[in-house]
Amino acid sequence: MTSTHGFEDFVRSYQNMVYSTAVRILGNETDAQDISQEVFLRAYKHFESISKSETAGGWLKTVTRNLCINHLTRYRNRWSLFTDQFTRRGADGDDEEIILPEDESSAMDLDNLDRSEIISTALEALPEKQRVPLVLYHFENMSYDEIGHQLKVSLSKVKTDISRGRRALKTILSRTLEDNHEFNA
């Protein structure tokens, strides 16, 4: 049977990568942790072959991505309720503006906070339909076609959602820069 010590080292090596992927796609730490555990449990079942493979990281990323998307598809209704707490409908009823959670935004000292940290938080607070394609495009290096195929949506919808997500993030970025007086300098 598999060596559990070897597997522990394996988990230690990849846990941040798997967790990051999950939390970016899901936008929720608790679910990301559950999915990560499920990924490693599956990895344990194939550990004999995975441990010898050079593409173990790729395998883990793919499984994480598939499980996350599957999770979002299965619990879409629950998720739309969740994301509603963090989003507000725009004038056209489709464009949405990110509102960071109350406690987090008040706790943020924008002058001191790293720009990456703000974007990271804003990314996780994006509505699911914008966050998922954006994350798949930027972090999973998937093409628009692949994203459309994976999410079962049209190519134009993928482009629109990524564009809207980016616009929302740029708004946050712009505000941050203005607060830091960097933008017009």
């Binding site: 049977m1 559990t4 597997f7 522990e8 988990v11 230690r12 846990q15 941040n16 990568m17 798997v18 967790y19 990051s20 939390v23 970016r24 730490e29 942790q33 990560s36 555990q37 490693f40 449990l41 599956r42 344990y44 079942k45 194939h46 072959s49 995975i50 493979s53 593409t55 173990a56 790729g58 395998w59 990323k61 793919t62 499984v63 598939n66 499980l67 998307i69 599957n70 598809t73 299965r74 720009r115 990456s116 974007i119 990271s120 990314l123 930027h138 972090f139 980016r166 993030l169 740029k170 970025l173 712009s174 820069l177 933008f183 017009n184």
Partner: protein, 161 residues
């Protein structure tokens, strides 16, 4: 200094790309590794068990089997209880139950008689066809249910091992 909206937008686009490219990996919670290893230990423990203990019998199936077996042997059980316990007050009710069971036994006997009248090759063929049909139905229903409940849960993509 060029500060038109287009220029600012380009600058923001560039900055956003740079920021997204440099985003660090999130650190996994400290509890994750112990949780995973606990789950792995559970899997390992499960592997040590005998095949019978390893199976997770569904409660509904176990209950259904219990009810079936109880019904099958209840005639003897009721007879035994009837003979060993003083049931004077409930004699009539028990007699009703006994009558029903006798009726069931008679039906069972009649069915056995009919079966015994059927020529052996035909009976074997019918049993074989019935078995094949039941297996095919189970496989069909199972596949449909699996597809319905696990749709999109594909783990075999091009990148996967």
């Amino acid at each position: 200094m060029n500060s038109t909206p287009e220029h600012q937008n380009e600058k923001l686009d560039r900055l956003l790309d740079e920021t997204l490219d440099t985003l660090k990996e999130r650190e996994a919670p400290a509890s994750m590794l112990p949780n995973i290893m606990a789950m792995v230990a559970e899997v390992e423990q499960l592997q040590q068990l005998t095949w019978f203990a390893r199976l997770r019998w569904p409660v509904v199936a176990v209950s259904a089997c219990s009810v079936f077996l109880f019904t099958f042997y209840s005639n003897s059980l009721f007879q035994y209880l009837f003979n060993s316990v003083n049931v004077g007050t409930y004699a009539r009710e028990i007699q009703d139950v006994n009558t029903s069971l006798q009726l069931l036994t008679a039906l069972g006997n009649a069915f056995s008689k009919v079966i015994s009248l059927v020529p052996s090759p035909i009976l074997t063929s019918v049993i074989a066809v019935g078995f094949l049909f039941t297996s095919a139905s189970c496989a069909g229903f199972g596949t449909v249910l699996f597809r319905l409940t696990r749709s999109g849960d594909s783990m075999t993509t091009n990148n996967a091992i």
